[in-house]
Amino acid sequence: MADPPSGDPGYTADEMMTVTAARHLYDGQVCFVGIGLPSEAANLARLSHAPDVVLIYESGTIGTRPTVLPLSIGDGELAEHADMVVGVPEVFAYWLQGGRIDVGFLSAAQIDRYGNLNTTVIGDYDHPTTRLPGAGGAPEIASAAGEVIVMLRHSPRAFVPAVDFVTSVGFGRHGEGRGGSPGSGPTVVITDLGTLAPDPVSHRLTLTATHPGVPVERVVAETGWDLEVADDLTTTEPPNPGELATLRQLKARTRQAHGTEG
């Protein structure tokens, strides 16, 4: 976990990241949610400014409103609070591929300057240094969702010039574009340091905002390629008390529900 911004602003860098990501979800949108950071942000959005956001997890839980964060993509919590539960083939065929998802919310081990994501291997595929979990639902979320929001923590190991394996396509290895995929691809990458967005022409991820107290130089240093910075770079609005309270209550409820056992 990254250090909190200097001067202890009263929130952590992870909280800033989660709040920023949550703000990118709008009420009424239909969101296909990955587990972990995306799930936390999506549920924060639902519990704050976007009560009617529709959350779909690949376990087939559609329109779910968990009271605590799920630890896995298939927690009973997700099924118990869902509008409906469908089989996994259906969630991918009818709901994702069918073009019903506005926003796909993904994380990854590596991302490159063109927003391509790797969750498969570090190193060579046949002789990997590190075998990662693999594709899961990500490739088709990345291609079919109307837009893709990516969340991952900044580091040169994560923000690499070229991903070791293109598990999910952003704008292609050489920024050549989406190759006819239905969705418009990554629109924003939210980290613990700031926000990146693809340049509309070059498709290169560009720093568009830094979180309060984070110098641009630090973001550049934590990015494994020569990061471009937007002319109109802004500073992220810090978390407001309501956002922080909602997030912290959610996490406290989650710890209480899961923590007694682990």
Partner: protein, 290 residues
């Protein structure tokens, strides 16, 4: 018509060495007890199939049951890596493991094709990914629009094993809650083994997303209460989150792993004994966080 039998007999009789075995379950209803029984029987050279291999696959792989793994996401859900899977792929321990890897959407389409008696499934997917070059897919053109899509080969396991909440005395199986790809995996397979929490007089059919597998598509049913541990069976048990966390530590080291497996799986005669053993703190000395 399904035979109601013991898990030991079902695995012993119906899972030959070298066969392609799907043990499906999507976080919910994972057929752990059946995986343990495969280990106890010393099955070898299996092609193990599951969209989301987790702890029980780590165990089967680490104990040398698998020659090949067909999957789309392999991890310890909510925790991190599967160390035995990684050790097999990264270092060939206990022996090399072949990998056949797809996306979830691709695996689902493969099972649907298998269940539907079709040789292939079609989806929008894989385009532009490196996965396309490392697995079996093919372009397929729409004969009406000319559009290029992706075909994936049907998946037809020799045996599919799942865990469900209930079976009735005729062998009809009922499950509910998150149902994953289990129905398709059963319909795609030549042989189906189902472990259940309970044998009942009448299936309780009034749960949301209630799925029935009629007796005549099931080969064998074995009652195994708690058979999904550390996963859960909605209405019967809760997910043992602590165990998933503990597994991370148990499985990191080859020796610790082997000792744990010998103590709790090889060293127990059946799933009831396994559940009793892991509940007994005095037996947990080899598993620091078990």
């Amino acid at each position: 018509m399904a035979v109601i039998t013991t898990l030991a007999d079902a695995v012993g009789d119906l899972v030959p060495d070298g066969s392609a075995v799907a043990l499906e379950g999507f976080t919910h209803l994972i057929p752990t007890a059946a995986g343990h029984e495969i280990i106890r029987h010393g099955k070898r050279d299996l092609t193990l199939i599951r969209m989301t291999p987790d702890v029980v696959f780590d165990q089967m792989i680490g104990m040398g049951c698998a020659r090949r793994l067909v999957f789309s996401w392999g991890g310890n859900p909510g925790v991190g890596s599967l160390h035995r899977l990684r050790d097999a792929v990264e270092h060939g321990w206990p022996h090399p493991l072949e990998i056949e890897e797809h996306s979830h959407a691709g695996m689902a389409a493969r099972y649907v094709a298998g269940a539907s008696g079709l040789p292939f499934g079609v989806l929008r997917g894989y385009a532009g990914t490196d996965l396309a070059a490392h697995t079996t897919v093919a372009g397929i053109r729409c004969p009406f629009t000319g559009e290029e899509l992706t075909a994936v080969p049907a998946l037809r396991p020799d045996v599919t094993v799942i865990h469900a909440q209930q079976a009735d005395r005729q062998g009809n199986v009922g499950l509910w809650g998150i149902s994953g790809v289990q129905r398709e995996a059963v319909l795609a397979a030549a042989t189906a083994i189902v472990t259940v929490e309970e044998i009942v007089d009448d299936l309780d059919r009034h749960h949301p997303n209630h799925v029935v597998l009629p007796s005549w598509i099931v080969t064998a049913v074995a009652p195994v209460p708690g058979g999904a541990h550390p996963s859960y069976a909605m209405g019967y048990s809760r997910r043992d989150n602590a165990f998933y966390t503990a597994w991370d530590r148990i499985s990191r080291d080859r020796h610790t792993f082997r000792r744990w497996m010998e103590a709790f799986v090889i060293g127990t005669t059946n799933h009831a004994a396994y559940l009793a053993a892991i509940a007994d703190p005095s037996r947990l000395e080899d598993a620091p966080d078990g």
